[in-house]
Subunit: 228 residues, 2 copies
DNA sequence: CGGTGTTAGTTGCAAAATGCATCTAAGTTG
DNA sequence: CAACTTAGATGCATTTTGCAACTAACACCG
């Protein structure tokens, strides 16, 4: 016998890199509780419109930012009695990565960018959710090419290395970094394109190979859909 | 404004190793839909009793098996319209690891152990959930000491290596394996205890160091509780 | 026009980590 | 006590990693 309805929402941790610090995108809440406070974008699931919760997260981001397909992955589900003043609740959290330019240019109403290290005054358990997302990103960045999704369409290797170093918080050896990128085999040089402009040797521009450009990452549910 | 109630359950993938094959514990369902079919143990969340969904998963396992604290970790949340005939639904999935003896000795009513490679006839999207759990376990086993939770209290290094090889599905170099265990620094020799009995040199028995014996792994929510 | 500064990208080598074969150890069995 | 079996250690070859030095390609400046 089903239990009585419980509060069940989807929240999104949208991360971008400004300079060398990770920032999270917050929006001023338009309704109670915590009306007016900057918080993670989120809301109720719409079973009629949403295929699954990944779809719900994607829809929320699109509504807030107009961006259709950032890197988006399920983070985890947070639950408990104390996280929402209205009572026991569940939030399925996702995290997304975006180049900072995309969000800084956009005149999104109510948007607040905040450095992830000094979060204060977040409602619910949103601070915990953000910290879990940051930890996930740092961890995955140490063995994958996740940080490329914080860069734009095209980028140089020195730029990408700087992004890695910012995310991981430690310097990386140049040769090791390039070897690793080589063996991951996810980048391709953009024909002839070079980043120039300053008083130095111009750098080769790269982009994600086509097969990795599908940024909307697979969730357990969509894996099913693809396999069936 | 909250959406109308959606079906929201917790399911547990309980894995153990029989011989060299991973098995999942299924129970015959006691109610519709799919009454009588072997399926993952699960059920509705009880906000009154459960601190969070980890707690709900733990409770379900305890009710089914009597086992209080296996290794238990959140796997992910599965959602969609097609996974449950009753309509759009959400399942927060957990996975647990247990020594096979604990579950084989127990006279659990309705229990069916099934090899994870040839699952058939599972209701809902339980096959997908099991496969996601197996993939997670394989992946984590390649860099962590996760498989120790498939062994009993005490075990020898040759035995543990066999467990790793069964989970990963490939042979491991003996010296490399022992070096890795050494550097993980999670095991301690049991004073004087040796496993003997056959026509050979007896092997040293080991156990998890105390600080790792807390098998109930931390979830995002309980991390909060610990930090606060 | 050529020197200088600055960043990009490569090469060679030392150091560390890994894998493999072999060797020794400690028991049981006949 | 010789033969067999598995546990565990040791030595060395191979691979991987990290570092420093080197070459390359620009702009700027005299």
């Amino acid at each position: 016998m089903p239990q009585k309805a419980i509060i069940c929402t989807v929240d999104v941790v949208l991360l971008c890199l400004r300079g060398t610090v990770l920032n999270v995108a917050l929006w001023r809440r338009e309704r109670a509780p915590f009306e007016g406070s900057p918080a993670l974008p989120g809301g109720y699931i719409h079973p009629e419109e949403d295929v699954d919760t990944l779809d719900a997260a994607s829809r929320m981001l699109r509504e807030k930012t107009g961006i259709a397909s950032p890197y988006l992955e399920q983070l985890g589900t947070f639950s408990g009695a104390s996280r929402d003043p209205r009572g026991w609740s569940i939030s399925i959290a996702y995290y997304a990565l975006l180049p900072a330019e995309l969000i800084e240019q956009e005149p999104a109403p109510g948007l607040v960018l905040q450095a992830v290290e000094q979060l204060k005054g977040l409602p619910f358990d949103h601070k915990d959710i953000v910290q879990a997302a940051v930890q996930r990103v740092r961890n995955k960045s140490s063995y994958s090419s996740l940080p490329v999704y914080l860069c734009g369409e095209q980028f140089t290797l020195p730029r990408l290395q700087a992004v890695y170093e910012a995310v991981l918080g430690e310097p990386i050896n140049k040769v090791s970094f390039r070897r690793k990128m080589e063996e991951l085999d996810m980048l391709e040089a953009v024909e002839g394109a070079m980043e120039t402009g300053r008083a130095n040797r111009p750098a080769q521009l790269y982009r994600l190979k086509h097969e990795f450009q599908q940024c909307l990452s697979v969730s357990p549910r969509s894996l099913t859909a693809a396999a069936g």
